[in-house]
Subunit: 153 residues, 2 copies
Amino acid sequence: MATGKTYKSFQYRNNLVWDTARRGRTSAPDKPDIEIGSPPEFKGEAGVWAPEEMLVAALNACMMLTFVSFAQGKRLEFVAYESAAEGLLANVDGKYRIVEVSVRPIVVLSSEADIEAARTIMAEVKANCFISNSITADVKLAPQFQMASDVPT
Amino acid sequence: MATGKTYKSFQYRNNLVWDTARRGRTSAPDKPDIEIGSPPEFKGEAGVWAPEEMLVAALNACMMLTFVSFAQGKRLEFVAYESAAEGLLANVDGKYRIVEVSVRPIVVLSSEADIEAARTIMAEVKANCFISNSITADVKLAPQFQMASDVPT
């Protein structure tokens, strides 16, 4: 008996125009443009998003959005979510690639009783985040759960 | 005899703060913040960069910046560079991931004599772009080369 579920596919469009030296302007339909370019260590400028930073940002956000989606599905409410991420660009066999991204989310909850549910949801995030599934880097997820009452205001 | 070249590694940091519903604010040191969130097809809002769009933008820009770097190395001058890219998010074995990204750069050159050099450089771009090396998607690169004299002003 076939139990296969049918999934839709989606397309994401981007446009890019070279500006000068090692930078350009990237755009997506109906979104604000972003200046993008090589980072200073590769002869670019500081103050402009680098592709490497965008990849790390995409992963960090995807993991948060996956958490938000699963939390909503399980009716878990949370007070705040903040996450620091760091990607490591290293040369492997003569080619540079992002080999590792560490993601350290801090989820603030209103009740001790929610910690277990939050932990369970977070354990599902990495395997279900679309960007995590799309990159070759080793993704290290190290979540922390805090009580709202313990967070200084 | 050891001929190994030593390569440096680099770190790229990101910070993310959840805002409301399925969106947040992503930041990198000294760069303008970007609103990021789920796309409308995953219960998010239009007008906010989605992680999927950021991944496609990162690849598109990385390929341009690799081209710019190689062109500079070979003293090839070009007049303009524009590139449309499209990423396909599809479900494979129950998990969504970006399975394919097509990148269609248009490079405008001032002389017919530069086409061959530009073509040779572009052929090296995919294998050397850091982001291309960091993702699992099938990257399809379809460049076009135009003469500045043929481009309507």
